[in-house]
Amino acid sequence: MTLSRRTTMQWMMAAAALPLARLAPEAGAAVGEGAPLPVVADWPGPVPPLPPTRGYGRDPTLMEPKVVWPLTLTPAQRASVDLLADMILPADDVSPGAAKLGIGAFVDEWISAPYPAQQTDRTLILGGLTWLDRQGEAQYRKPFAALDAKTRGGLLETLCTAAPTGAMAMPVRFMDRMRGLLVLGFYTLPEGKADMGYIGDQPTEGPYPGPSQEALAHLSALLATLKLTPA
């Protein structure tokens, strides 16, 4: 089979299978580097198992897609996810915040799905939500949601460190995965695609028009920089 969806899926799966150092964003690209935490809360123990449920099976009705498993976040967990969603992908002059677009529900759908990859994420996400509260209590005697915005932001900043060690390894891994899930949930929505300036999904009759003049001019400049001749 030719490179297409399968390959991109494989790349995604391969990325997910890589050890932390490679799964993580490029170290050189990391700009978040908060001060080390004075005290680091313990990573919580195992999360309760997912209640028995089923996936959509091998032959779902594709014309009527629907999520068949129940959502499992508690109201408090869901509130934490929404809070994080709006911090990590906040409203700006281009698009609304992630919570307003319902990305919290998407995270709930994801971690409640009875598939192996999603269940691995469930352990990480639920553990991370608990850890945030524990860390708030340890440092400020308050759960995460009760902290002021600046303090919460400072805590997230420490979770963007490029080379986490010891007790910070799991919290940073949680933050990486939460960021990845929110990006997936947000930018696959029509609002997210519009935010990226995505143009497509439009049936266009006749031959494929190809790149715009502006896109071609950009490529010409790039080729000149790279000392390459247009082919």
């Binding site: 490179l3 899926m9 959509y56 594709l62 906040p90 799905a113 143009i199 266009t204």
Partner: protein
Amino acid sequence: MTPGQETAPADVIIVGSGAAGGMAAYTLTKAGLRCLMLEAGRDYDPQAEVNMLAPESDAPLRGSGTPDKPFGYFDATVDGGWEVTGEPYTSAPGSDFKWWRPRMLGGRTNHWGRHVPRWGAYDFKPFSRDGLGVDWPISYDDVAPFYDRVEKMIGVNGGPIGLENHPDSPAECLMPPPKPRIPEMLIKATAESMGIPVRAAHTAVLTRDMPDPVAPRAACYNASPCTRGCTIGAMFQTTTSFLPQAKATGKLTVQTDAMVSRVLTDKAGRATGVEYVDRKTGMRHEVKAKAVVLAAGTGETTRLLLNSGTPGRGLANSSGELGRNLTDSTGASFTAYIPGLAGRPRYNEDGIGGQHIYIPFWLYEQQKRGELDFARGYHFEVWGRFGVPSSNVLPRVWGADLKKAVRQASGATIGMALRGEMIPNKDTYCEIDPGVKDRFGIPVLRFAFRFSQHEINQVAHGRKTAHAIFTRMGGRILDDPTLPPEKIMAAGGEIIHELGTARMGADKRSSVVDGYGQAWDVDNLALMDGAIFASGAHKNPTLTILALALRSSERLAARFKSGAFA
């Protein structure tokens, strides 16, 4: 099935409804023969079932692949996949083989990759060139006229290749290829500066309308992923072309949910029909015909021959080659983040779905001079589009910075997927598992699989090449260059190009079928799928499967006409 037909034996039973079965049904019914097609999977109508334009956000998990739908929620494959409930297969100790089994009318053509390169002269005579494997009993010149016809029948777009062992199509065979996208133009400029050719891919997607009184097909409208299936018929799949066309002759009966368990034979050793299990009821049925065509896919065709005839030996296996010589294409993926593409101007990059250009194998001369440490070739299929950037190209930031980073990174990742030839080896085969049966009581296949050093060295060479191209364009390589090549290769079967387990040859001692796919041991049994391939080539096999099935079907029809089955 309408009453009465069941008692009137067909001229030909066709097992399978994918590329080969569809071509057989189309060709044989046009020749006036009455055909009964048995498909193990369920009935399937793309017009009613393909959700062509729904956004991924309509699907559970944003359409991500799961064990239920490995290639994504909207992928056309229904009721099948790497696993089929109650229908296991096994792997020999130390082997890891994956077997993709659609269980649907039209088989793999409903979601296939659509890359249809012609094979060349070397691909049919590999032993003559390097002393490995075997030659085919037929040559490129035997197949070329059928390639010409198949390209016109299924609709292929593409351009000239003009390279050694890459024969060009006559001008009238191809529809015009789509313009390349910006990342593809960057790949072309970069690769060609390094002496690596880049060409318009040959793709089974219409870029012009294809009128037909029964199954008209429209030119691609440049949107939506082809693997969902195509309600306008732009992508070739048998469910929108050969099958409705064959049905319109009034000569084709299609029975779905019919899992063929064995080929029936008489005392003289001729095929009299097949036995199948109704997958819905579990009931066994016998159906008769004057000839039997097996087009169930390489694995299933081999399995049902091994389960027929003499216990422990199978049918059509006097050579002992049945089940041996299994190959798949090699596969490995390489990706890079290209800073020069970050934040590039937006435009519609959907195009005809998959790649518009690709990198054919270009090192035959070096190979002949002994400068490569592997035999046979590989090619690269390429990828690079606007979309949601993956986590490994985003910085560890949050808030407004993250939103900016996503906008910058969208469309700045390029991928190259290697597909290479595997040479048959004695450790790679399939056989009947002595201890395991499926839910119908049919013994299942057990696979043994191993790559040789040729394939491992080939993938190492491909990685070096891909990384050199990425580096030349200023890219940051995202895959791990320190992993041994064995660790980055797709598992056997994963590329879904399994071939060779009932190979053709020049004599009955060393092969299962002749150059037309006719079983040496059973005069009225023809095999038409990938099982008959004598070697794999690195080029995707479906165009060749279709060409050989057309050639074989016309031979079978001619034999009917000459009274061979009277």
